[in-house]
């Protein structure tokens, strides 16, 4: 039987070449992401001061996190694309398989032939993918460096295991991907081999309906769940909805495609060729659905994740605006806080300083009570002034309780971090340890900049005076902010509070864009490759159909034009279904933002959306006619008469 697989493989190589390449690219992508993630173990930071050590650790953790998300994305794409491609190759060979059945192949033998092919395909793809992982790592590192993600001291270790893991995934996915397709193939009746035209197979099987609807339900469930958790889960939501939604619509594709293409194909039906193209789309529903599937994934993945990350930044900005009740921000040092507070027209002046402090908070680990050292997100404030320029509603306690050795701590229920007033903590100021009480518990905020508030009384006056400070000023009613700003200018740079928040958002946006580039560039390239692959497979299987069309009087140019219109209809259907997934993800983030900051936030990356849609359509409009030009080279009479 394996001999038969081998020959099927050798003979149908144009059909399989695409499948091998998808496995190879997937394996390379997974291997490179895992290799970099595995290399991102921080170096020995023993000799460094605690804050620098923490910075180094964070940088390495950041690389590891981004690469782990990349690996998950690459894994999903590999599973999705390889499975789709392979079931497509099976669907394209119904008649061959029926012939095998006619000649006495049992159902099990058909499945063995296809599984044998899958093993060969997976192994060939993995063997090709392993050497490709080198260039993939270099490209990924280049993207990371460009995004200034790679910390000093990063050394790429090249353990062998990520390659083996990726190769194993590649082969396993090829085999599992063919499992469902081969079950369907085994049911092809032998009679189909002798009939002139293959009986229209019912593409929407019960299993496909069930799987598609289950994935759809899972997508809705995530959107609903997001409304209870808040915007902290935006990225996970964007990723999750993109994955389940794309799988749902790909599975339901054969059912959704005809009605959607009816709408989108309306302009095309004005001409005879357009009507033919549209009929072909509906007739070859399996082929059309297989071509639309990678388009759905591409749109869903790129736009959902980008939309999620951008919405997070917007939510932080909205949160800052609604929680801040100040007009101006002065960048100065702690020494001038008093002077600024005494300026005429200043109603309140709150100095917020970041000092090299550490706080040991009570925590629970596997072995019971423990402490957790926190180095980031600690702000030194004056509780009274802070309360006047921030709208804070603590979960427990009041800002006025921050007297003596006491601090305020933000709770993070989504991470399972909760605090109660009265718990003890330790503030580390230089070499001094101060035992303090948690007096106030603050509600969770999206911005991690002020997770712990330390009253200024706990820090020596001299240190405060020397350290940089952002002083938030509120201008008293009846005073001109411009006059106050001019006066404050004597102590440092003054900007409006909105501009100050916007500047922070711009910084965040730059980091986001860099992160998204690292995450999405290779994944998107891989998906684009899958789109091309699907168009090529769909086109090469139609040699005979094209020949018959030409015998019916179509010129070669008209056949090519028809396939171009078909490809455009199918691609735009994929774009619309993908956009529905993105809409679900953005709706989920909107309700999550409503919970977190009170406003529904929708960030549609319009430029990226336009580029994705335009690029995909252009690709379809170029690749599909090119393929059909190639397959219509031979004189039609020869082909129409020839057996397939």
């Amino acid at each position: 039987m394996i001999g038969l697989s081998l020959r099927g493989f050798r003979d149908r190589w144009p059909l399989f070449a695409g499948a091998v390449v998808t496995v190879a690219a997937g394996v390379a992508l997974i291997a490179s992401a895992v290799t970099i993630a595995a290399s991102a173990t921080p170096p020995d930071t023993g000799g460094l001061p605690p804050h620098e050590a923490a910075t180094v650790r964070d940088a390495f953790d950041g690389v590891a996190t981004v690469m782990i998300i990349s690996a998950i994305l690459a894994g999903f794409l590999t599973v999705f694309i390889v499975a789709t491609t392979f079931s497509f190759t099976v669907a394209e060979r119904r008649r061959d398989l029926a012939l095998l059945r006619l000649l006495g192949a049992g159902r099990l033998q058909v499945r063995l032939v296809l599984t044998g092919e899958a093993v060969l395909l997976g192994t060939a793809g993995a063997a090709l993918g392993l050497p490709l992982s080198g260039p993939a790592v270099r490209m990924q590192l280049w993207l990371l460096r460009r995004a200034e993600f790679v910390p000093d001291g990063f050394v790429l270790t090249r353990p062998a295991w990520p390659g083996w893991v990726a190769a194993g995934i590649g082969v396993a996915v090829a085999v599992l991907g063919v499992a469902a397709a081969s079950r369907r193939a085994a049911r092809i009746p032998p009679l189909e081999a002798v009939r002139g035209a293959p009986a229209a197979a019912s593409v929407m099987t019960a299993g496909r309906w069930a799987g598609g609807l289950a994935m759809l339900a899972l997508t809705v469930a995530q959107v609903v769940a997001a409304s209870f958790v808040g915007v902290v889960v935006a990225l996970a939501l964007g990723l999750g909805v993109a994955i389940t939604g794309a799988v749902a619509f790909s599975l339901l594709g054969p059912a959704l495609l005809p009605p959607v293409s009816l709408l989108l194909g309306a302009p095309a039906r004005a001409s005879t060729l357009g009507r033919l193209a549209h009929s072909n789309v509906r007739d070859g529903v399996q082929r059309s659905a297989s071509t639309a599937a990678p388009v759905i994934v591409l749109v869903a993945m790129v736009l959902s994740i980008t939309g999620a990350v951008n919405a997070t930044t917007s939510a932080v900005t909205v949160e800052q605006r609604t929680r801040t009740d100040a007009d101006l921000v002065v960048a100065t040092t702690g020494a001038h806080t008093g002077d600024l507070a005494r300026l005429p027209g200043v109603d309140a002046a709150s100095a917020e300083q970041v000092l090299p402090l550490a706080v040991d908070l009570p925590a629970t680990d596997d072995e019971g009570p423990a402490t957790e050292r926190q180095l980031d997100g600690i702000a030194v404030i004056d509780p009274d002034a802070y309360g006047r320029v921030h709208r804070v509603r603590p979960v427990a306690g009041e800002l006025s309780d921050l007297t003596g050795p006491a601090i305020a701590v933000m709770q993070r229920p989504t991470d399972g971090v909760r605090h109660t007033p009265g718990e003890r903590a330790t503030v580390v100021i230089g070499d001094t340890l101060v035992d303090v009480r948690i007096a106030v518990v603050l509600p969770e905020r999206l911005s991690g900049r002020q997770q712990i508030l330390v009253p200024r009384d706990l820090v020596p006056e001299a240190e405060l005076a020397a350290a940089p400070a952002d002083v938030l000023l509120r201008v008293a009613a009846g005073h001109d902010p411009a006059t106050v700003a001019q006066a404050a200018g004597a102590y440092g740079e003054v900007i409006g509070v909105d501009a100050w928040i916007a500047a922070a958002a711009r910084d965040q946006q730059r980091t986001n864009t860099a992160t998204l580039t690292v995450l999405l560039v290779l994944a998107a390239l891989y998906t684009v490759m899958a789109v091309v692959n699907a168009i090529v497979i769909a086109g090469t299987g139609r040699r005979r159909e094209h020949a018959v069309a030409r015998l019916s009087g179509l010129t070669r140019g008209q056949v090519v034009a028809t396939t171009a219109v078909e490809a455009l209809i199918v691609t735009s259907t994929g774009l619309v279904l993908g956009a529905l997934v993105v809409a679900a993800a953005l709706a989920g983030i909107a309700v999550a933002a409503r919970r977190s900051v009170g406003t529904a936030i929708v960030e549609v990356p319009w430029m990226l959306a336009a580029a994705t849609a335009g690029g995909t359509l252009l690709l379809a409009a170029v690749v599909a006619p090119a393929v059909s030009l190639l397959v219509t080279r031979t004189r039609p009479v020869v082909l129409a008469a020839a057996r397939e």
Binding site: L100, G104, G106, P190, L191, V194
Partner: protein, 258 residues
Amino acid sequence: MSETTPLPPALSGRAGPPDAAVAAIGVTRTYGAGATSVAALTDVSLQVPPGTWLAVMGPSGSGKSTLLHCLAGLERADAGRVVLAGEDITGASDRALTRLRRTAVGFAFQNFNLVGSLTAAQNVALPLRLAGARPSRARIRAALESVGLGDRARHKPGQLSGGQQQRVALARAIATRPAVLFADEPTGALDSAASRTVLGLLRRMVDGGQTVVMVTHDPAAAAAADSVVFLVDGGIADRLERPSAGAVAATLAGLERR
């Protein structure tokens, strides 16, 4: 797995209908349901004795191909029974039918005969290999030589002419020795010289004991058979034994005038 339905005593065992390689007993086959249903076969009964060659003729849409498919177990009869190689296949499971396709049934169709990726020799050996046998090289070569293609063993179907492809299909039947060889328009796509070669080969096989059921449009092909049944509107309208091409053509013309 119920391989076969027990036969009534009169029909059981290899005797089936006595001495028939394949037999139809009151076979009816209807496509579709309700107002749009089309009766392709209505209460057709016939038997083909072993080692004989039956041609099935009739106008287009008369049910010829459906009869062939029912006899070969590719389609199920809605009513009536089909006994193939001594087994009642009317309600047979897919597994039983698969086993029959390997051992009891051979096919030679106008088109879609051979696996395009396999060589002529591999195509000849395929049913035996699928059945788990390891046919000897000599046996395969002998089969190909008997159809005059000993030198084409390594060619793929795409490199062979239509007549040669049809001869490879016959060599496959020679190597497998099925109880019944079903042929659907085996000469339909061939020129007259190639047709004569194929018909001559079929005759030689029948003389060697092979049972053949052949659907054809061509009176000359039908005249090569031992007997001819004529189907009209899903029923047997006439039957000729050892006919001449002229008699076949005349009967056919008569039937089409009715």
